[in-house]
Each structure stands twice: as C-alpha cells, then as structure tokens.
Subunit: 429 residues, 2 copies
C-alpha cells in the first residue's frame, strides 16, 4: 500500500476531530483513497498544553518551517482559523507545491480569490468543503452536483448558535439573554458571541456560497447584515399566530440583472422544510432552474462533522492522484456482510387488533407478548357501544420473529376476531 | 472551444428533460465543463411519434448501430429504462470505448456489478447519479462526500408516488384508492402502479444505495419488502394520536455483524425531519460515524430534476478530461453582477408598532403605506385596557426603500409611540 504524509496546522476542536477520524476509520479511509495516510507533523502554539486526545509529542511543532521544508509532506490541512497567519501559511504551503485543505470561512470569504489563483499557478489542489455548513457537503453540491443548473436561490440556516437561541426562544419561551447564556453553557456560543449573534459568521458563509453559485466575486460589505438581538418574545408569538417561525437566514437570489444578498432574522412559513431545522442544526435550501427545490440538512459545526468534510476533501485529493474509481469498496467486496432475514430484524411495532370487548382479553394478549419478549409501550382501547372494538398496541423494539410468534398465538385466542394491521415504528435511535 | 458529441438512448420524459437543459443552460454548461456539447444522435422506437419538444428529425434513429459505430460519439446516455435492451446497449457502448451515463435503477440494482466491471475493463467512465432520488445528489454524497465515514444508517423516502398517496391520506383524509386515483390523474402514478405501491421501486433504489454505502453486493431478494395497500384511515388516525406519521421507508442499517435492509410502511415521530417530507418529494436521511445526522431533500422524479442529475454526470465526465477546476466560473468572473443595495431588495414585512389606541390612527398609517406602494396583507390590534397597544402589520412583497420611507413618515405621526420591530418575511415564491 502506498503511503502519504500530511500535516495539520492547528490542533483545536476540528484538528482533534480530524485526528480521531483518521484513526477510527483508518481501514476504510485507506480503502477509499488508495493510500495509507500518516499525519507526520502538527503545528501548535504550545506543545505542552494538555489535550483531550493522545497524540505523540514528537509530531508537534511550533515552527511552520518544519512543515514547509519537509518535501515528504504532500498535503497541508489548515485548521487554525482567523485571518493571519493562516492565510500566509496556506500561500507558503502552495508555493512549496503542497495541496491545501482549509475549514477557514473568514479567509475564503475575504481573500479566497488569491488562494484560488495561487493554487492554480502552483498546480496544487485547494479544497474547502468544511468552510460552510460543517459536515453538510454544500460546496461539492454547488461545484459538482448542480453544474447543469442555473442556481436561482440559496437560503440557508448556516449559523448553529443563533439557530439554537431562536429554537429555545420559540419552543421554550426563553428570552434572548437567557437563551444566549444557555448556548454559552452548552458550548454552542463563544464568550464573545458577536460574530454569531450579529450575523457576521453567516455573512462569510453566504459570500462563499454565493460567489460559487452565481459566478460572481462577492465583497463582504455588499451583504446586508442584521443580527438577532432585537427579536422579542412578542415577535415570536405574533409569528406563530400568523403561521410563521423566525430564523436567521442567509439569502442569496440571482435576479435577472443583479444579486440580492442578505443576512437577517426572517419569518418563514411553518410548513417550509427550513422551518423545522432546529437547535444547532444547519440547512441550505437551493432552487435550481433544472433541479427545482433541494435542501441539505445536517450538523453545521462540531469536531467530527467538520472533520468528516475535511477528511472527505483529503480523500478526494488522493483519489485524483490514483486510478481508483469511487466504487473501489464495492468492487472489492470489502465487507461482504450477510443481509439479515426479516425474522432477525428489530423495530417497534404498532399492532391493531379487532377484539370482542370481554374482560380478560387484554391480559391474555399481554401474557402472550411477554412470553416472546415483546415489551408493550402503550395500549389503547376505544370505548364503543359495540361488541367488536379496535385494540391498539405500541411496542418497544422487538425482534420480528418474536412478533410473528406472538401474533400467531394471539390469533388463536377465542375473543380475538383478527389482527387488522401491523406497522413498524422507527425511532431513529 | 472544444466540441464533444454525445448520444441519447431514449427520448421519453427524462430524455426530453436532458435535451431541454442542454439547450436552456448551454452557456453555463459549456463554461462548467470546457466543451461545447452536441447531441448528435438519439435512439428512439418511432421517429414519427409526435413529441412535445422540437428536435431535428435527422438526429433520430431506430438503429443502435448508428450510434455504436460513430467514433465521434464519446458519451452515451441511456434513458430507455427497463432491463433489456438497455443493459445490452450499455455494455456494447462501453466496449466501443464510449463513456456511459444511466438513470436506470432496475439494471443497476440487478446487474450493476457487470456494468462496473466492464467500464473498468474498457477504461471508460460509468455514472448513474439519476438512478436514485432524481435530482437529489445522493450517489455523489455516498461515493465522494462521505468517504471519511462509516455509514451506519440510510433511511429514505425514495418513492414519490407512495409518498404522494400517504400525504393525501394523512392531510386530506382520503382513502387509499381515492389517493391512488388522484396520483394517477396527476401523472405521479402509472396505470399499473404495482412497482411503486408494492415497494419494488424503493427496493431497487435501496439496493443501489446500500451496496455503495456498506461495500456489500446486495441481492434484491434479500430485501424485506411490503407495500402501502394495507394502510387504512384508522391506522393514520392512531399514528397521529401517538405522535407519528406513516411513511413508506427504505431502511438500511449497518449493524455490527449483518446488514438490515427493508422497505415497508413505517411510523416515524412527527418531529423527525423525514416526517415533513410531503407530496411527491423524496429525502434520504444518513447517519455516519463522523458526520452524524445528515438529510438530503428534493425532487425524486420529473424530467428536469432527473435531467439535472444526468447532465451533472455528463459535466463530471468532461471535467475529468480537462484541466478545468470546479471554480472556473468564479475565476472567469463569468457573470460579474452587481449586488443590490438593501434599499433595492424586496420582501414581505412584519411591522410591530406601539400606538395610542385612538380612532383614526390605523387609517393614517394605512394611507402612508399606500403612498409608498406598500400593500398590507393583514393588520392585527390587540384589544387591551391600556392606552398604548401593539399594532402589527404583515405586508405583501415591497421594496425595502419604500418600507423605510413609510416608517419614517409613520414615526412622525402623533399617535404612534414607536416602531418596535421590523422582521422580513420570506415566502419562497
């Protein structure tokens, strides 16, 4: 197996996530990219700082030069954040003929053009999926999947902190300050929350998405921006009354002559898919002139989701250097697992019986379920003036074979007229 | 500009969609792939058949040989559907060193392995994004974006016909047969709806997604399958009562030792993102061990959405043959549009005023809105025992400059204490 050496710049939350993914999913990643990946150096500010994950100390360095001069390092992953020195280090890495991956929305939104130009001049790859929407593959979507479309609209919930706060205000009646404190305690908001609360973070991400979607370089100061500090409980109540919910949206519209770009709190109809994007989740709604309405939903932040996007970029770069097609793992039959029989499957069940309304019938049925390890969550019997009534059970997760055996016995009971329907329940646990 | 010749096999719904996209978005597609694309032959059964779109008759042929022997045709797009001759034609095209794109779920689910193997042996590309989820880029997601993940779960609403029927039964209280007839009248269901209603269509798509996600070849008969014919209004009512909705789900779980694969009507919690996927929309929910929960939502069928996926594949194949990076259009500044000022933007508005409860105040405000072309949708005034009361307007779409002028005048009214909040409304029109 071929080997490739890479370096990380920064070992914060996302850096540690990338390290963890490269280790946990090592076997599959190697199969997917055709290389064994070795993190050979990591740039940090302080080597002695205690970290939650165990990383060999000899990999850590405080000198960018150690990475730049090492010709064996082919790919540099920038996860420091902030404007400088991140920008300078990426440019230098490209000039040393290293491919670059970044999660840095600020640098992309403000100095992206220079990075694109330099990567082209130096003939290296430059990937940045993690810069918008964390684990949501929105960049690849725009740059590769939707290339047949004229993209007409982008509407995103792309800041998890403000979405968490607005969700708490809407569902739990908190006021803004209380919800902000909660977000800070949960680690969703920074001590200085200005960038999130005032919409700067969303504006950076909108600038990146809009420039790629609409083929136009976007200056940040052309984006209208308004934060959520002014949203009051009374506004949320009125929104509800009129059939809306309030979300901080980043909106990009490709009108006939112009672009319309804005970030502000917005009322949207309750039945729109974006209205149900809650807590710290992100989603991006796209309208293309061929594909119609499309939405991507997922974790917009966090070590592992963001790391998923970074390592996905890494695999893409390595694949471009090999003859591997996307289907390696299937063709190799890498994990030829057995498909379970229906009897072996498990799920919750809704069971609707028709029974004669006689004493003891419920007890008889419950006893049979118990015999086969089927545990009952709720049971409901309609009070009707008829003899034959519906009796409905909801069960916990049970094995389908056991459910089938129970039903066979239940059908034999003298007061049971029939099993009228069985529907499986998925609780996404 | 370089030119490339391609051929279509089939000119039904999707074929005509592809033709339309290649024409409507010609300029952008050329820019995105670096080639001018020419459809030089189209295989049809009947050249004289009337068609809704205008296509030069000299492009049509009934003989596959005309396409196979034409060395100038580099890419063949199979949109005939069905097992044969589609499969045979694709194999032959590959053996003539042509790249192949297909939307054919049946062939992929049953004979995909032979297509993958042949494309590799012949050194040609084989793309099939449109085979699952229409315009939703689920194949690229699995094959390229999520490569850093162990995919643990796939849960999809991947059949539009059954989702339309279940939505009508749930929201409008229709029974199954009535909803099915409606779907047939709307063109969402075929005259013989068996493949959709009984879950075969969903099972083909699950087989494709699961084999790619779990690296295991899936035999169709290993997938447990159950249709929606047996769902009654009473079951939908009980589901609602217990906090569930009923959806036809395709479920794939990558358990420790086995795979669990099934298609059946399922109750899911109302607050799960999949619960709000209605009508003929599709969505696929994915759980990866790094990315966490992710969902893709969009049009699972239709000429243009499916065509969007097909033409996206075409552009990908052409890009692989060029040095173009994904960012061509941005770098070219292809459409350097002006970003509108906030004053030029339009949206609906929620305006909350604090006013003195005096006769005439509403009329004065409405007159001002009218003067600046701001049209009022609703107005609400709380009846309170206080002098100062909230007065809330919802407006139709208006230009922000006009709204600002209105508010300036309104603030000057003697009975208006203040403009307490303005929130924009997005109706996704």
């Amino acid at each position: 197996m071929k080997k490739i050496k890479i370096a990380l710049l920064g070992l914060g939350n996302v850096g540690q996530g990338v390290w963890q993914i490269l280790n946990t999913n090592k076997k599959q990643i190697t199969l997917n990219c055709g290389y064994e990946i070795e993190v050979s150096k990591i740039l940090v500010q302080n080597i002695e700082k205690p970290r939650t994950i165990e990383i060999p100390k000899e990999l850590l360095t405080t000198r960018i030069e150690d990475i730049l001069v090492d010709d064996e390092i082919k790919i540099v992953i920038e996860l420091m954040g902030g404007s400088n020195p991140a920008m300078q280090y990426m440019l230098k890495a490209m000039k040393c003929k290293k491919h670059v991956i970044t999660a840095n929305k600020l640098v992309l939104a403000t100095q992206g053009e220079e990075l694109f130009r330099t990567s082209e001049e130096e003939g290296v790859s430059f990937y940045y999926e993690a810069s918008v929407g964390g684990g949501i593959p929105i960049i690849r979507e725009i740059n590769e999947s939707l290339t047949a479309n004229k993209i007409e609209q982008l509407v995103g919930i792309i800041n998890g902190t403000t979405n968490y706060i607005l969700t708490k205000m809407t569902h739990e009646g908190m006021d803004f300050n209380e919800a902000l404190r909660g977000a800070q305690e949960m680690g969703f908001a920074e001590a200085d929350p200005t960038s999130d609360i005032e919409g700067y973070d969303a504006a950076y991400k909108l600038a990146i998405m809009a420039s790629l979607s609409f083929g136009t370089k976007i200056e940040l100061n052309c984006i209208y921006r308004e934060g959520i500090r002014n949203i009051k409980a009374i506004d949320i109540d009125y929104a509800d009354k009129f059939g809306y919910v309030i979300k901080l949206l980043a909106i990009g519209k490709n009108t006939k002559d112009n672009l319309e770009l804005r970030v502000h709190p917005t009322m949207i109809p309750k039945n729109h898919p974006l209205a149900n994007v809650n807590d710290s989740f992100n989603a991006i709604f796209i309208k293309g002139n061929a594909v119609g309405d499309l939405m991507l939903y997922g974790r917009g932040a966090g070590a592992l989701p963001t790391g998923s996007a970074v390592v996905g970029d890494l695999i893409s770069i390595l694949r471009n250097n090999t003859d591997l097609s996307a289907l390696t793992s299937v063709k190799n039959g890498s994990s030829q697992k057995k498909v379970q029989t229906a009897e072996e499957n498990t799920s919750g069940y809704y069971v609707r019986l028709n029974v004669q309304d006689k004493p003891g019938v419920l007890g008889e049925i419950a006893t049979i379920f118990g015999r086969y390890d089927v545990s009952i969550l709720t049971v409901t019997q309609e009070v009707k003036s008829e003899d034959n009534v519906p009796l409905v059970f909801i069960t916990h997760e049970a094995q389908e074979g056991n459910m089938n055996k129970s039903l066979k016995d239940i059908q034999g009971l003298s007061h049971v007229n029939g099993v009228e329907n069985i529907i499986r329940i998925e609780n996404f646990s």
